[in-house]
Amino acid sequence: MPILLAVALHPEARPVIERFRLKQDASFALPVFRRDEVWLAVTGTGRMKSAIATAYLVTQVEKGENAILFNLGIAGHTQKAGEGPVEVGDRFLVNKISEQGTGRSFYPDLLARTPLAESAVTTVERPLVRADADSVEPGLIDMEAAGFYQAGAAFLPPHRIGCVKVVSDHLETPRLDKNTVGELIAGALDDFEETIAAYRTVSDGGRDVLTDADVRIVERLRSRLRLTASRHRMLSDLVRAYKLHTGSDMPDLSKFTRVTIKTKQEGDAQFERIRDILSVG
């Protein structure tokens, strides 16, 4: 299962790259770092850049549609410093993403129990200043989450998309230096890693009884017998029915992968023979 990480800035990405010992993969058009099943894209700042890079990552990585996708980064917080429980360095799993520009909100599915507290985040177009803190829902402020989420949700179910934010300021710090950013992210990586592990334990449910080997045989039969898309679907369902009703493995259909078909009628006749073999009536 690929783990895809979308991170806006190099200073945010650096501790992650070091922790997971990622190497840059120059074959990508964007800065992408990887090792084994972990892929990290440095997206750039802003929701549009985040959306583009996220969509790129999901579509370019093999089996990206099976991935778990995370956005990790720093964020401001609307609470004033010292006037509530939230402090710089606190990290949150996002349960609601509001897009200031459109007024729309998005909700990642929270199925995995993680060590993180939760918070809403509002994605803004330009950095928010303290004077404007009341114009948004109380909580985190960032510039990427809404773009990231919408891009990810075009490909993945909402329980495989997560967004983790580390509080960097209370909307009062004009600019953070790179080292501070890196330290904030580094301090969150144990929780982040545990969060990823928790997400990995959640399956999509309704697991297919067809194994990869079954799928390969069905594909070979489709090609050999020149099955239409509808017949192909039917064949897959016949195999599922056989396995589910008999509790047995798929019967040996290898002889059908060696037949030569010249006409559609011949293909249909072979298909009917397979149907008889798979019949559970």
Partner: protein, 343 residues
């Protein structure tokens, strides 16, 4: 990435998603108190959570969230052609909740809804108003408004969270031209057992053979416990309906369902039962297809089915054999007009 699996899933109702407009309703406050430790997320409209694309129904079933919302319209629907109307012409149903705490392999909700999360509509008074209007405007004045309130959910199973059965029983008591059906697979009769019975509410239990209940009706009460609940309701004087629906073409279905009927009427006096319903597995084609796309792990969705119009069901011969079998056996205990059959 150490790959350890120290964390786990959230349990059910770890999160409450609450529409801003629903916050001040009494049922919302009650549910918040009931799940005091739940994380609360304020939302503008329940559809933004419930109707997200690409949700995985079965993944969500293991960690269902609760969405509290205000229903804006459509408080009364015409009775479905897939349901038995028992010759009531003013046949309606409503949706007080979307989805169910149980997880039956064959349940059409998996194909009907984009999400397994449970939506509770908290504006009960608006439903009552619509029902009063429906009673007033019903076409056949010689019959009551027949309203099923637990179709796309199991209200009694959720009664400890939101006491809607109780509220509807009290409402029906005030409405002489209303007949309410509350259908359940639960054994939670005790949740309303203190109420005096009324002939304006039918308590309906779906009964399944124990092997079917155990294997395919995840979370629902066992047959024995359902029959205990039926017996209690009858003893207290409630009109009770028994629903053998859906009848499934499981291996040796004849002996399996024969045993179900024997067990049922060994425990329950049929003369104390108001009526019974029978229907073999059937489903709207679109729902069936969506269910198959969502899950490939249950034999119930991968059998011999035919499509008739927009309905997926068993082949006509098998359907007839199954229906006739149950009809005949039930005919030993009930008059013809007491047996509602979907064919």
């Amino acid at each position: 990435m150490n790959g350890s699996e120290i964390s786990s899933r959230w349990g059910n109702f770890s999160h409450l998603y609450i529409e801003r407009g629903a916050i001040d309703y009494p049922f919302t406050r009650r549910i918040r108190d009931r799940f005091a430790k739940a994380r609360v997320v304020e939302i503008d409209d329940y559809k933004a959570v419930f109707a997200r694309p690409r949700q995985q129904f079965q993944a969500q079933k293991e960690s269902m969230k609760l969405i509290l919302a205000v229903k804006k319209d459509r408080f009364l629907y015409d009775g479905s052609g897939h349901s038995q109307d028992f010759s009531f012409e003013n046949f309606y149903y409503n949706t007080l909740m979307f989805n169910c705490v149980y997880n039956c392999d064959y349940c059409y909700l998996q194909g009907m809804y984009p999400s397994a999360n449970i939506v509770v509509f908290v504006n009960l008074e608006d439903y009552f108003t619509a029902t009063r209007d429906g009673i007033r405007d019903r076409s056949n004045r010689s019959q009551p408004l027949y309203q099923c309130i637990s179709y796309d959910t199991d209200l009694l199973a959720f009664e400890s969270v939101v006491p809607y059965c109780r509220a509807w029983i009290e409402f029906a008591r005030e409405e002489p031209d209303l007949l309410v059906e509350i259908r359940t697979k639960s054994a939670a009769y005790r949740a309303i057992g203190d109420l005096p019975p009324t002939d304006r509410v039918i308590l309906a239990w779906t009964l399944s053979p124990e092997p079917v209940a155990a294997r395919y009706e995840h979370g629902a009460a066992s047959l024995r416990r359902r029959l205990d609940a039926v017996q209690s309701a009858i003893e207290d004087g409630w009109p009770v309906r028994l629903c053998f629906d859906p009848v499934l073409a499981v291996p040796s279905w004849k002996s399996v369902y024969g045993e179900l009927l024997e067990e049922t009427f060994r425990r329950i006096d049929p003369t104390a039962v108001r009526d019974v319903s029978v229907g073999v597995f059937r489903m709207t084609k679109g729902y069936f297809q969506r269910m198959r796309r969502q899950r490939q792990d249950t034999p119930l969705l991968y059998g011999e089915y035919v499509q008739e119009g927009s309905t997926v069901t068993y082949p006509a011969g098998q359907r007839k054999e199954m229906t006739s079998f149950l009809r005949k056996r039930l005919g030993e205990h009930f008059k013809e007009d007491q047996i509602g059959v979907w064919t």
